[in-house]
Symmetry: C2
DNA sequence: ATAATTTACGTAAACGTTTTCGTAAATTGT
DNA sequence: ACAATTTACGAAAACGTTTACGTAAATTAT
């Protein structure tokens, strides 16, 4: 026994009216008498009729669903962001289809094709760390599929963007360490070609510069997988720690990097903040429970998700392509705790 | 300019063949000559044709999508579980639509209606803490919508279930505390009517009993929101801590309860494990990084997700309703660390 | 050589909606 | 009283597939 929902035909037969009359009655058309409307509405409610969204999608050439492409659900930044997306999408009657790249370009490609062929009305995308070429996205965008980029920004695409003030976050974080008299501050970044990595690097550089400290390329290391793979992080920090002049503080430029550095220091018995000052990007809501509590740059992920979803839906529902595009930049929330100095 | 995907008609016109011939060629029908098939396939590939899934859904009366109802995405257990669901669903060509209840019965109801009317082929559900009546689920299930229950089990529904050995997890956790010579072990549980809460309570009780300790009702407290709301947790622990004979150890029966207890102890400067032994359910992957490191009962969330998805898809794709139903019970992974005693 | 069968394709219906167009019946206007 | 208009509805097409059915042409069988 397959699940069968009520349809217009059922109401039509039951009331001896045509299908089109039923449809119009339920859509409150002026062409239908109040008496008929009432009768139809009552019966529809009785059998719990809901328009079949698949049929409506086919007819309207829109599915009322939006696709989301992110790296990992099991990442506090993204899961909070999805919450934001979800909250506005559901309110506006849109379905959300979430796909993960796990930081793989290949999966990003296949997810994107999947979403496009699934007739989503638009797409929210934060590219994978592996993605260096944006042709797949630009191609679909040019064919008319609405996109909103968030977090990791795609170059060369004319659309709305929701991003974060990575420069300022990194600048203030570095500055916090400087203020606490750390002298040799290293930076551990995500994949070097990502927009966010470059912006964070600039913030870090500028803070050093403003403090009169010479920028030293050897104090910067990148992790292609954004900190997901512990061994990659370990290798990078090991290198830093074996420099002739090793760092006395560390700025970590992603969520997973921050937690894996803490794991590293635990393993190596490196005391934070005495031996190594630490401040990093993180949206983990228990960063304050660690010992020492971790100073973090927090991103307003939920609000960013809301904003991205709103922009996308606006794009989808507008008749004409907008003349100019918004670039919403969210400010960092600096949560200064123990790890960045006492 | 709206996004327009290639369709059969485009190929049909281009090659001067009928739409049905194109369709059959692409579906490798025996009725079409190899020569034609080749020609069609090549052109289809050239224009990147993909069948419109909405049209296919309407035709086939199935959408190749499954709905998931959980409490919170931003909860490590659920996000890991979704990863598992996602991994098998995508392999089998199914879409995953995730909805959150935020532990509200009302939202569960509306999400379920939304999914059912969205023509999902089946549903994976872990009920909200507020849900005490399962009629909405049973009703849809009786109308033929396939369900698989996981984690929090629904009573009175004849279908596959994917659960966790809550009894054993609670038993072993309590036992661990007993082994370390804690005498007055309290339990902090999720909403009392949930299946998981009752099973965990039984495990806790049995461990006490086997150790010859009298079960004391006043040592058990429940949090209706499963630990989501700090004040609710605080109130419950405050009560425990103001008992004449206050507990010397605590068993927390959910993810959020465990982290919020740690927050409570931090605030109140209660030393773990000296003043209060602690062991709890948690799937956080940084429980080992806290000081002290937290002993946890870990649930194989990813595997549970995979299993649930596999069972659901099997249900969806089987012609006849299965004669008997599986009840997969996953064993706990006990990660004993410092918080439960030295 | 002619009948029977197979091959290779086209036509049309169906899935459940919405909407354009058409039209009897009822109402209004003069 | 008759024309003009409005009211209230039905028939049918369209969205993009898949597939049952029909059928010329090609092949095989006798």
């Amino acid at each position: 026994m397959k699940y069968e929902a009520a349809k217009l035909k059922d109401i039509s037969k039951a009331l001896g009216l045509s299908i089109s009359t039923i449809s119009r009655a339920l859509n409150d058309s002026y062409e239908i008498s109040e008496k008929t409307k009432k009768k139809v509405r009552e019966y529809a409610r009785e059998i719990n009729y809901r328009p079949n969204p698949v049929a409506v999608s086919l007819r309207d050439k829109r599915s009322r669903s939006i696709g989301v492409i992110i790296a990992e659900i099991a990442n506090s930044f993204f899961s909070q962001m999805i919450n934001g997306v979800d909250s506005v999408a559901h309110n506006r009657g849109y379905n959300v289809i979430i796909t993960q790249t796990h930081e793989s370009y290949h999966r990003e490609l296949s997810n994107l094709n999947f979403l496009a062929s699934s007739s989503v009305d638009g797409c929210l995308i934060s590219v994978s760390t592996e993605t260096e070429n944006f042709d797949h996205i630009i191609h679909l965008h040019e064919k008319g599929l609405p996109f909103v980029c968030f977090d990791r920004i795609v170059e060369g695409i004319k659309t709305h963007k929701v991003s974060f003030d990575n420069f300022r976050g990194a600048y203030e974080a570095t500055n916090e360490l400087l203020k606490n008299r750390y002298k040799r501050i290293a930076m551990l970044g995500n994949a070097s070609h990502l927009s966010i990595t470059q912006e964070r690097l600039e913030g870090y550089k500028n803070a050093l510069e403003d403090a009169g400290i010479l920028f030293d390329q050897s104090m910067v290391r990148y992790c292609l997988h954004g900190g997901m793979i512990y061994d990659e992080v370990k290798k990078a920090v090991d290198e830093l720690m074996h420099l002739r002049k090793k760092p006395d503080a560390l700025f970590t430029a992603s969520d997973k990097l921050t937690t894996n550095i803490i794991r590293y220091c635990n393993n190596r018995k490196i005391r934070i903040p005495e031996k190594l000052g630490l401040i990093g990007f993180s949206n983990l809501d228990i960063a304050d429970l660690l010992t020492p509590s971790i100073s973090v740059i927090r991103q307003p992920a939920f609000e960013m998700g809301r904003s991205a979803a709103e922009l996308l839906i606006k794009l989808i529902e507008s008749k004409h392509p907008p003349v100019d595009f918004e670039n919403k930049v969210f400010p960092p929330e600096m949560l200064i705790r123990q790890s960045s100095g006492l």
